[in-house]
């Protein structure tokens, strides 16, 4: 089929739009990479350059010294470790506890089911800041260390979400599965963990990914609970409070390097699991 001129114009406009969107979304990353490859004096050059250039000659002169500094920065490395511990634990616990609750809500009959569903749904929108002072008081009074405090408190947003999405997955599994298992003499709980749970594995991966990303990115509780325990700071807090090795000025070269270091694993996660992540994101919103 030959294309008419107007179809060609449409085509060009379409690709122009695609390029525009991609540039808009990617440019801040480009600027961060660019800045992370500059020395302190290159960063202070005005006007700033679109590629790292030597102040004297104007030649392209990138440096990796900021990345070296980031990987020598104990606070940042401890932050990575703390974030990993907190995000993995939060995800594991909320998946386990949430799957139990979701099975009950999705497949069992009991009085009070409707109110429980309402409760879980409303909890998915619960504002963290509303319980900040209350949680902080509990934690200070019982002197719970910061890391378990974060793991526990992050369930405020991971657990209701996990439960809500898993409930709809359980509802989607045919009842015949349960009934035939019961005929074979399986108790409902056996049916749950031997038959239904393996079938919900894709849902577990999806919700787990989202819970992990949310827990990894959380900032308000992490900042508050680590106020008196700087060694427990997670990556977002470490980046927000980043101080360099020597300079008193905010070391933006190192901060940008740290930002890129944190972004790369997330980029891979998104590359591998993009379809699952989108499915999880839209599960609550579109299918309701």
């Amino acid at each position: 089929m030959t294309k008419t001129p107007s179809a060609w114009i449409g085509r060009i406009l379409f690709w122009l739009a695609i390029v525009l969107i991609a540039v808009y979304l990617l440019f801040p990353f480009y600027w961060a990479i660019n800045s992370s490859l500059k020395t302190e004096s290159q960063l202070q050059m005005t006007p700033g350059t679109y590629v790292p250039r030597s102040p004297g000659t104007g030649d392209v002169a990138p440096t990796l010294q900021n990345y070296g500094a980031v990987f020598r920065n104990d606070r940042f490395l401890t932050g990575l470790k703390n974030s990993a511990i907190v995000a993995v634990s939060t995800t594991a616990i909320s998946l386990m506890v949430g799957a139990f609750a979701a099975f009950a809500l999705g497949k069992l009959r009991f009085r009070g089911k409707q109110p429980s569903l309402y409760l879980i749904l409303s909890m998915t929108m619960f504002p963290q800041v509303a319980v900040l002072t209350g949680l902080y008081a509990v934690i200070r009074t019982l002197s719970i260390p910061a890391i378990p405090s974060m793991i526990l408190s992050y369930m405020l947003f991971t657990l209701p979400f996990t439960t809500w999405v898993m409930t709809s997955f359980f509802e989607g599994l045919p009842n015949e599965l349960m009934q035939s298992a019961q005929v074979d003499g399986a108790t409902p709980f056996q049916t749950f963990y031997m038959i239904l749970l393996p079938l919900t594995l894709p849902a577990l991966v999806t919700t787990g990914l989202l819970a992990f990303i949310n827990a990894w990115n959380e900032y308000l509780f992490a900042l508050t609970f680590t106020t008196i325990e700087p060694d427990a700071r997670t990556v977002p807090v470490a980046i927000a409070l980043f101080t360099g090795e020597v300079s008193f000025q905010e070391p933006f070269g190192e901060i940008m390097a740290a930002a890129i270091v944190v972004t790369i694993p997330l980029l891979f996660l998104v590359l591998i699991f993009q379809q699952k992540i989108v499915a999880g994101l839209t599960a609550g919103a579109v299918k309701g």
Partner: protein, 371 residues
Amino acid sequence: MSAESVPINHEQEPASPKRRGISDLAKREERLAYVLLIPTLIILFVIAFYPLGSVFYNSLSDRRFASGQESHFIGLANYSNLLSLKIVELQPEVDDTGQVVVDPDTGEIDYPPAVSVLPREPRRYRELAQFGLLGNRYVIGATDPEFVRAIYDTVAFTVITVALETVLGLGIALVVNSKFKGRGMMRVVMLVPWAIPTAVSSRMWEWMFKDTRAGFFNILFQDLGLSNGQIPFLVDQAWQLPAMIAIDVWKTTPFMALLLLAGLQLIPSDLYEAADVDGAGKLRQFWSVTLPLLRPTLAVALVFRTLDAIRVFDLFQIVLQQKRYSMASFAYYRLIDGQLMGYSSAASVVIFVIIFVFAILYIRMLGVRND
């Protein structure tokens, strides 16, 4: 997964001669359900309901952290301190002869400082803003101008970001909805801003907003001939909110676009084919097919984002710190820097109430799927 597609039928099991056996089974099922729900309920009680209760309770006290002082029940004093507003007319300055003083340089009427007309007892009011109306000048005083401004800023931030994100998000979703090579890659590009921590994106943008021409926006503005390249975006009152909005729109528009894209893909393509046959143009199809069918998704996405934007914290706390507050960062600083537990709790309650109202609307709109 909608309930209609998977009818849950054991609710209507017919009463049979073996009714006793069935009700035994039903009892066991019910007991199992409660056992399975208990861990979730306990966790939610410890991290949500109990702290929420104590926040409400503390909001009525003058409790402080790390102090030996006993705390007292002070009723609604925290709330009235947070929210009290007073509008007072400002009389022009008059000289000894009773003449209105006019500034000789600008020709404008001289007004006394606003604090002179605002009440000091029992609580001190500070100036929030001034405005002129019918030739008179008025001062809005607040007992805590920072919180009132935080409410105003947060609401303005919410309305503008959500509106921009919806329009941009819809545009992006419509473009990406057509089939083209590299669509998967495009989805990755859209997911990354959403996936990175707000702390990271806030710092990236903070650097782009630097107040010299080392910052991208100052370079850009100068290249476009809009400024001398020295705009202190994050210090200048007039630029602070637009900067916050720009950062948030960048970070969350892709999320909005992905939600809307999922909604677009639910629209059956034969509707468009039918519209084509009927000779409806693209624009007509958008108004008559796409928009009405996208409405449920659009509504949900809107409310999701609204609730999220009202509690914005990371962005304001990291980029503006104490220069300007969102409601949440105000509550945070009163708690951590001020150790004012009671006062911060009252601010949290105000946020909670605002969000609660929206959440109720949301649940009404969606409804819990019934079985």
